[in-house]
Symmetry: C2
Subunit: 295 residues, 2 copies
DNA sequence: ATGTAGACTTCGGTCGACC
DNA sequence: AGGTCGACCGAAGTCTACA
């Protein structure tokens, strides 16, 4: 693996910056030279200051340093998430098997995450196992969630509803909202956590409908529309529009609902294979169910 | 500012992980303890390994450590970008003024970026100044671009076309493509640089049309469609659809073009105030120009 | 499983000078 | 502007042991 200093050297040269500009008053001139040669490591807090001067993020530095590859953790997560998106559950099982005795600590974490994905897929047959229990409990108990938790919590919703009842969803929702708020700045939503919140509301809506708690479902619209669309990207805005569309089918203007949904599915239809096939399945299912409900 | 170790301690506790799990064979047990107390800094490469075990990115760690705020560099960039998005050019000028004698090295970089934004707005009156020349030259000479450059290069297109002629756009395009390729992994596009590439092609299309180089413009469609939409997010896919729509107005199926554009603008119309007002302006302008061209 | 403390070593980091 | 060398210091980091 290339030393951090060498990577920084390359970037600095390409950017046409001098050592003085980049290292300023952070480290001495002679150390800067030895550091860029790869002879020394550097203190983390100093590195962060240097990265600011280089106008590069810590994540990108790592990515470049590792020969333009995501971190091992990212790689593991992306592999699992990709299998999940493709509904390839055997591949997830296999991944867990292969990494069950990994020397890397983060593989245990990813295994937990992967187990939850399997759990979400078919919690009746798999149930909460010893692998999934720690992270299942953690997600319920921890006050502070990081991006990883925010990404995962929405697949936990149906599981919580089944095992602890619908009432357990209220505190979960509150924590989700509170934690997403932590990641809002006056410049917007740098980590795009609001997209996860939209998806969370979507899963919540589906769950309430599945359990026939129509009153709770009805109250969700105001929460979904309350999200300022200017702080979302188009991924979030389309999800927002989709779930409002579904809501309208049940509780609002049937025509408007179909308009909203048409606009979203029209975009999907432009892409082969589909970006997200589940949208069509959900719409079909909900259209039928909404008709029944309205009678 | 809270010490890095203290932040990591909080995150570790919240995640319910033991020191052994997180620090493994990276540092000794006793050092881990002192580090989390904030008594010591830590080597950068060791920190990265620890972050993997914590399942958190370096960027997020920094964000949390700084009390849930982006890095100073990010803050500066976001401020300028926001002003640009709002077409608030006086605010950008003012920002450059206020930070022209900043002690922070990165403020010079952001000033360069901001100057280019102004340049892109009205290069006839402002011209290439001493502030903008370094970065203007840099973007043309550097082989390696980081995310920052990839974000900025598309606003440079019209400037390059005016000052160096349309032929200069070919090598620029090649470098743009090559650099975006660096950021593609087998798991997709982790930094979403392909969105920048779509926007680049859009600017390119506009520029060719403005300069009446219809042959070059006609060849752009294959490049835009060549981008696999599955590696884009919806921001990118919508931009892709929009620019293909514009292309169709000139060189392809007029009806199809309007269909594509209608789908995109229909989404825009759902949001007040508009997410991106320029879409409507561009469409209006191009519809007229395309009619003329077709005659 | 973690905090503390002392003794100890390594290496991150400075300074000055020379090229 | 930046690479290098030697001398030097303090902080990073280990080990052992006790709590």
């Amino acid at each position: 693996m290339e030393k951090i200093g060498c990577t920084i050297h390359r970037i600095r040269i390409e950017k046409g910056l001098t050592q003085k500009e980049v290292y300023g008053k952070i480290v001495s001139r002679s150390f800067a030279s030895r550091f860029e040669k790869g002879a020394n490591d550097i203190g983390a807090s100093k590195l962060f200051l240097i990265l600011d001067n280089l106008a590069i993020s810590a994540d990108e530095l790592r990515y470049i340093q590792q020969n333009y590859q995501p971190s091992p953790l990212e790689q593991a997560l992306l592999t699992v998430m990709k299998a999940y998106a493709a509904q390839n559950f055997p591949a997830i099982s296999q991944w867990i098997q292969e990494h069950s005795h990994s020397p890397h600590a983060y593989d245990k974490l990813v295994s937990s995450y992967a187990s939850i994905l399997l759990l979400a897929y078919d919690h009746s047959s798999i149930g909460i196992t010893t692998t999934t229990r720690p992270i299942y409990l953690h997600l319920q108990q921890a006050k502070m969630w990081t991006i990883q938790e925010l990404k995962l919590v929405n697949i936990l919703v149906p599981i919580v509803a089944t095992t602890k009842g619908l009432s357990a969803l209220h505190p979960l929702t509150e924590r989700m909202v509170a934690n997403c708020l932590h990641y809002q700045t006056k410049w917007g939503d740098p980590f795009n956590v609001l997209n996860n919140l939209v998806e969370f509301y979507g899963t919540l809506l589906q769950t309430y409908l599945n359990f026939h708690d129509y009153q709770a479902a009805r109250q969700l619209k105001s929460k979904i529309t309350a999200l300022n669309s200017h702080n979302l990207n188009w991924d979030g805005r389309l999800a927002q529009q989709f779930w409002i569309g579904i809501w309208e089918l049940y509780f609002g203007d049937w025509t408007l609902g179909n308009e909203l949904l048409d606009e979203v599915t029209a975009l999907e239809k432009r892409h082969k294979p589909r970006i997200d096939n589940t949208l069509f399945a959900i719409r079909k299912l909900r259209t039928q169910a909404a008709k029944t409900y309205r009678q």
